[in-house]
Amino acid sequence: MTMNPDLVDKTYKVIGTRVRRPDGVDKVTGRARYGADASAPGQLVGLVLRSPHAHAVIKKIDISKAEKLKGVKAVITSADFPDHTNGDRGLRDILENCMARKKALYDGHAVAAVAAVDARTAREALKLIKVDYQILPHVTEVDDAFKANAPLLHDDIFTDGITPTPTKSSNFVKQAEYGHGDIDAGFREADVIIEKSYKTEQTHQGYIEPHSCLASVSPDGMAEMWVCTQGHFVYRNQCAAILGMDANKLRVTSSEIGGGFGGKTHIWAEPLALALSRKANRPVKLTMTRDEVFRATGPTSSTSIDVKIGAKKDGTITAAFAELRYHGGAFPGNWAEFGAMTGFACYDLKNVKTVSKDCVVNRPKTAAYRAPSTPQVCFAVESTVDEVARAIGMNPVDFRIKNAAKEGTKSSYGPVYGPIGIGPTLEAAKNHPHMKAPLAKDTGRGMACGFWFNFGGQTCVDMNVTPDGNVTVAVGTIDVGGSRASLALVVAEELGVPYDAVRVVVADTSTLGHNDMTDGSRGTFSSSMAAVFATRNAIKTLRERAAKTWEIPLDEVVWEDGAARAVGAQHGNRAPLTLKEIAAAAPGSGGPIAGHAEIVADNAGVSFATHICDAHVDKETGKTTITRYTVIQDAGKAMHPAYVEGQYQGGAAQGIGWALNEEYIYGANGRLQNAGFLDYRIPVCSDLPMIDTQILEIPNPHHPYGVRGVGETSIVPPLAAVANAVTNAAGVHMNHVPMSPPRILKAIKALKA
């Protein structure tokens, strides 16, 4: 009965079965309540006024007419948000992003907000707010932001990571370097060197549910918030810090979440709803429109990446280099740096160097999007890897297998790897029937592999035995893809009871200790670890109760198959005490029975995947159709295989959308031109084939059930897998995603010319 996570059990009764999810019926009958589905007595409608300018000084905001409109109960501006951030730059950026202070930094930046009795009045009030802007020159393209004469967003950014630190401020936030060996020497050894530049456009997570919250602040300072979020504890902490509240006064309840993928790890309008409610003394419901979601939440970085790879004729990569330029939107970030860490992580390289350059531009504040920063660099690296393989006449799978990282490899980001799963995914790809299937005319096959760091983080689980001998489990990680089912499986497995005897709920912030967000592929990994430990603690109590009942020592009681059993020669004939019997006797044996675990689930282990893609390119129109797609990824242990497959398929679909269609398009005026699902086109059902999956199960030695996070890695390889398939289908090398029909057509025409 150990709390050591490095103990992997390998035989299971319920883990690995495809049970029905506990929230299924509510979700197919319309009963499940999402962010916008809650109401409070007397609630007002909150709306936000947003800057139409990419970059402008806010000279004056006149709210007097709006305040006088009948039915308007509160109007707020940055004046309602005194700076409580106390020198914390990250928090100050969040504050400034939630409500512009001296300058509007992007099209969509909030400048004021209103709460009124109904939506019509609130809309009317927004029109009555007069903002006096002084329009400034703007910059929205990543390569332009670094130029010496680029419009300056902030006067307090002095490039970090350059010695000596510049004395003049710029948009160049940070430079970082990773790698080892001597790349110049490595390139001298190479028989073939491929050097190319790539661009990727900005994409949005595209969750179907817009952000929505219902905030209620009482005159005594007590506050409640219902909100769709990937991390209600983090939302609580950040909102409380920004508003100068004590965290315990703000109770946040998470709604069902209609998708997040990283976009709901950040607070956006929630502090505005709370501030409006505080000022109006009424509950305020604030729901973003789709236009606001695109303009004013956190998409990815658009990027510009140079890659150079050299190899010998025998297929050994001798040196690899990349320079990555990413933006954090209007605020500083480390997005390029994360790309620099992950870009070459799949390979065993003697000489490797990556240089990252992060900048700011007049676009919304970048947020994480599923394995953040990595799909972009993977596109650049894996496209180049294919070209190198082609140049030396080697099959791309064999070339990757030859150079794949393995146990003992010094990773491109520094540390030496322990046991890792890139090799098995590549071998599985090589042997997959998909690799050998014949291809139709104008169809090409591509592949790519990808890497992502997973992590664990702070996690807290309460497990309670009900008086009738069933179990409730309170967790603090948001269920984004079926984790309540997986966690019930874990507790049922550990306790030896049926799946149906366990009910898992996501607790609010006042009833459980702090939990980090559901991000970094950590939700199921970390909460299942905590659930195992909580259950083991409860089992100890259950054994103690049985020992008391039987009046025998604790060490003569074991827990097996949902019951306490007396062991030892003198107890041979004693009937087991079931969970139900012990629960019924609880009042007389010491009271309620519960188990808790408060842990940091460190050491999550890294994750690898290999994808295979068949793409048909219509050479007349430039349209690409994905005709077959296979995802191969290690799950450690798939607790609920259907939901693991779902993560693989969903990530692949998002990556295909990124590869072929999705992009933010900014006009010369710095305004987003396609802030809606009609013009920002995510894949629909008729765009995609079935997405085959192969789950590898190489137990993660650092989880009691061998589980590995599976949420993110599946979005990493598709951009490159699709690009390589397009190259093989149409003979064009696409160095710019999305590979939309006009871009492909242009490349085909250039090839012919």
């Binding site: 495809r18 029905r20 999810r21 929230d23 299924g24 019926v25 979700k27 197919v28 009958t29 319309g30 009963r31 499940a32 309540r33 999402y34 916008a36 589905d37 019509r120 997570q205 595209g206 969750y207 179907i208 549910e209 817009p210 069902e256 979440i257 209609g258 998708g259 997040g260 993928f261 729901t287 429109t289 789709r290 984004v480 893809g481 079926g482 259907a642 939901y643 497959e645 779902g646 398929q649 969903g650 692949a652 679909a653 998002q654 809606g676 699902f677 009609l678 995510i682 894949p683 629909v684 059902c685 008729s686 995609l688 079935m690 997405i691």
Partner: protein
């Protein structure tokens, strides 16, 4: 200006008063408490607000509440027969065809409309029949399989 409307929703007689410019979606969600239809975009691009109006699939954000007088609306809340789920609903659960679930009511309405017209659809029929509905979690694979399984079950 407000309009008084008498209509049928999920077989029940319903009366409401709404603004002349108020979308059916807002009437359902804000006036009638039927929050199963979701607003994903408000512009008819995502299908999360799909309902069946006089037998035809529509985005409830694109029709007005005022137009409902004398007509018949089916929403997700009326799909199950009491405690018995519709085969589509059951197959969505059994095939893990939902993750976050926010698009699910719209998909079920769209699938319902599709199978009424075409009880034996091919995979392509299903993919095009559901192309007006966006799902960002699943990659559609399990949704298509769930509709195939339900169609088979309903054909008997």
């Amino acid at each position: 200006m407000s309009v008084h409307v008498k209509t049928t929703i999920n077989g029940d007689q319903v009366e409401f008063v709404c603004g002349a410019d108020e979308p059916l979606l807002d009437v359902l969600r804000n006036r009638l408490g039927l929050t199963g239809a979701k607003e994903g975009c408000g512009t008819g691009d995502c299908g999360a607000c799909s309902v069946i109006l006089d037998g035809r699939l529509v985005c409830s954000c694109l029709v007005l509440g005022a137009e409902m007088d004398g007509r018949s609306v089916e929403t997700i809340e009326g799909m199950a027969d009491g405690a018995k789920l519709h085969p589509l609903q059951q197959q969505f659960i059994d095939n893990a065809a939902l993750q976050c679930g926010v698009c699910t009511p719209g998909f079920l309405m769209a699938a319902q409309a599709l199978l009424r017209k075409n009880p034996d659809p091919t995979e392509e029929d299903i993919r095009f029949g559901l192309a007006g509905n966006l799902c960002r979690c699943t990659g559609y694979d399990k949704i298509v399989r769930a509709v195939q399984a339900a169609a088979k079950e309903m054909r008997g």
